[in-house]
């Protein structure tokens, strides 16, 4: 039985958006850009015939939004690519992309693919390496995991990947309130030496009972402390990067940004999102594609853009977006030009979510784990944030 895909409730969902017209947003503009562009191709969990051809057609349909002349700073195949691609169609996809955009490798460019352990056979890994992929993001499902579940499969995959030189490994560990803490601890011990990044992704339902939320905290906090004791740095809500990770340097140099697809270099200002539910950034506006397979395919068949919604204003003009960037990237609860209500700050400090006396206010580990709640309060509660005259 195929696992149910986990929809991540990111803070980006708190940003205001509006339904897209069936043409590019008037303010988005259509400009050929020489700045680096990022591309995310999203492959849904549900099977679809010829999905990669729809992706190719979508590139043409989005020509007015994205016309990258500069290098591609980041290329990722996300979701479940091997549910839709065979070895030949993956080779063809990369070949076709190469003919349309500049995939020349630079020291900063990243080419990554999301895989499950089942996708990591020796032949698949060899093909991925041969096609220029340098990062594998391993999706590990620990949502229903007993204490004594074996780690043999994961260990074998990591050893296999190690055979292919110069492939970095990231792990995305899906957890739930049913995850046994001892298993999670064993898993982290087993993978941390191999991974440049470990993200713990809670499977939060829309109406999660409070006791499950508390149980999740109980699970996440020791895991976070374990990783940080071993030198990993915490980013966002539950993402941990090794000291060698490029994002650690970007953070130090204040060049880091966050989006629903992850962290990236500030210099990559345009993001082309392709596929069901994919998101992107064009001329400072955030957009999302239709999130269901059938409507997405129908739009492409009708030669129409599958964009479903746009941010109602440019991202940088939204104070919540700027709070989001400061908190996810730098663990500060701060936005220039705005002031947080002192009572709100005191409340967060009393909860142990903010460091005492730090300026700007800095999140503790517990605070970072509760970042969604904090940002939701900032977005929805009156007088929590005021304009600083």
């Amino acid at each position: 039985m195929k696992p149910k895909p986990v929809l991540r409730d990111t803070a980006f969902d708190l940003l205001g958006d509006e339904t897209a017209a069936l043409r590019p947003a008037a303010d988005s503009g259509a400009m050929a850009s020489i700045a680096p562009t990022g591309i995310n191709l999203l492959f849904p969990a549900a099977d679809s015939l010829d999905y990669s051809r729809y992706l190719s057609r979508e590139i043409s349909l989005k020509h007015e939004l994205h016309n990258p002349k500069g290098p591609i700073g980041s290329l990722w195949l996300r979701g479940f690519p091997f549910r839709h691609l065979t070895a030949d169609t993956l080779t063809e996809l990369i070949f076709r992309l190469c003919t349309r955009v500049n995939l020349e490798k630079t020291p900063e460019s990243v080419r990554g693919i999301e895989l499950t352990p089942e996708d990591c056979g020796r032949e698949q890994l060899a093909l991925i390496k041969g096609l220029g992929f340098g990062v594998v993001r391993l999706r590990l499902d620990a949502r229903i995991a007993a204490d004594d579940r074996s780690l043999d499969k994961v260990s074998a995959v990591l050893e296999r990947i190690k055979d292919f030189r110069d492939i970095s490994v990231q792990s995305e560990v899906l957890i739930s309130s049913d995850t046994a803490p001892r298993y999670l601890n064993r898993l982290i011990e087993g993978i941390k030496a191999h991974c440049e990044e470990i993200e713990l992704v809670p499977d939060n339902g829309a109406c999660e009972p409070e006791e499950d939320a508390n149980r999740m905290q109980t699970l996440l906090l020791p895991a976070a402390n374990n990783l940080m004791t071993h030198g990993f740095q915490m980013f966002g809500e539950s993402c941990f990067k090794s000291p060698e990770h490029g994002d650690v340097i970007l953070r130090h140099n204040k060049r880091l940004r966050y989006a629903p697809w992850g962290y990236y270099n500030l210099s990559v200002s345009q993001w082309l999102g392709l596929g069901v539910g994919a998101a992107g950034i064009s001329s400072g506006f955030f957009y999302r594609n239709l999130g269901q397979l059938t409507p997405y395919l129908k739009r492409i068949d009708r030669q129409q853009s599958p964009v479903a919604s746009w941010s109602c204003r440019p991202l940088d003009s939204q104070f919540l977006y700027r709070f989001l960037q400061e908190s996810f990237c730098y663990r500060h609860l701060f936005c220039e030009g705005y002031r947080l209500d002192p009572e709100f700050i005191a409340e967060l400090r009393a909860l142990g979510w903010l460091e005492d006396y730090a300026h700007p206010p800095s999140l503790t580990t517990l605070g970072a784990l509760n970042l969604q709640h904090i940002l939701r309060r900032i977005a929805t509660a009156k007088r929590v944030v005021t304009w600083d005259n």
Binding site: A87, D88, T89, L90, T91, E92, I94, F95, C98, N102, L103, E104, K105, R111, R122, E123, L125, A126, L127, K129, G130, L131, G132, D163, F164, R165
Partner: protein, 245 residues
């Protein structure tokens, strides 16, 4: 690779010395259900230039990726050069084998390709392949199947070579050449190595002295007989087990 009703022993119409049935390119020439006029059309887009001399480049690193190539005779070496000017051999390509796929995920070739001895190659320009594939759809599918297989096999060999001892690496290389020769219906136990000891060492991550020592050791162990570049494998099974293949 399927031959349909085509005669696998037919001679290449452009070069009587080349047997189409022995050339891996025939996977393109002879996919299932290609009619003879379609084979002719495919044959017309393949460019066969003059023979290459030893040391002559097919392409340099950084050149735009426009074609892939097949070796008809001779041997080709792929290599990169790092910022310090140090060469790293990335592969050896023998008759019937395809090279140039390092460019398939990039706009330019990452490696350079140079002839190790007098060689003849076939060049397939992509743009012309695409034109023809509109008329012969199975050609394009077949092309990408072939590409993915070559890319996968190349990487698997590189990986296998990098993790083993010096003896295992050399045994793996020799058995690989043996298998590749046998595939072309040539002797799998008696062949000439077209590359130098230095190139072998570079490719396998070994010094030339280590390569020579291992060859001597293999001779003492009666695994093979060596006379300069001429190799006779006297115990193929033992060599294969040493290579873990």
């Amino acid at each position: 690779m399927t031959g349909g009703s085509f005669n696998m022993d037919a001679k290449c119409p452009h070069n009587g010395a080349v047997n189409c049935g022995d050339c891996r390119m025939n996977a393109l020439c002879l996919p299932m259900a290609l009619q003879s006029d379609e084979i002719d059309r495919l044959d017309r887009i393949i460019e066969r230039g003059r023979p290459l001399q030893k040391g002559e480049y097919i392409y340099h690193a950084g050149e735009p990726f426009r074609s892939i190539y097949a070796v008809r005779s001779g041997a080709i070496k792929g290599f990169t050069v790092n910022n310090e000017g140090v060469e790293q051999v990335t592969g050896f390509y023998l008759p019937g084998e395809i090279f140039g796929m390092d460019g398939i995920g990039h706009p330019n070739h990452i490696n350079a390709a140079v002839s190790l001895e007098t060689s003849a190659i076939c060049e397939i320009p992509f743009s012309r392949m695409e034109e023809l594939s509109i008329q012969i759809p199975s050609l394009q599918r077949h092309f990408f199947t072939l590409m993915s297989r070559e890319i996968t096999n190349d990487q698997q060999l590189i990986t296998m070579l990098s993790k083993n001892s010096a003896e295992e690496r050399i045994a793996t290389l020799l058995t690989s050449i043996s298998v590749r020769n046998a595939r072309r219906k040539l002797s799998g136990t008696r062949f000439r190595l077209p590359m130098s000891r230095a190139d072998i060492g570079n490719y396998l991550g070994l010094t030339v002295e280590t390569v020579s020592r291992v060859f001597s050791r293999f001779q003492k162990q009666e695994l093979l007989a060596v006379d300069k570049k001429e190799i006779e494998i006297t115990d193929l099974e033992r060599l294969k087990s040493l290579a873990n293949t």
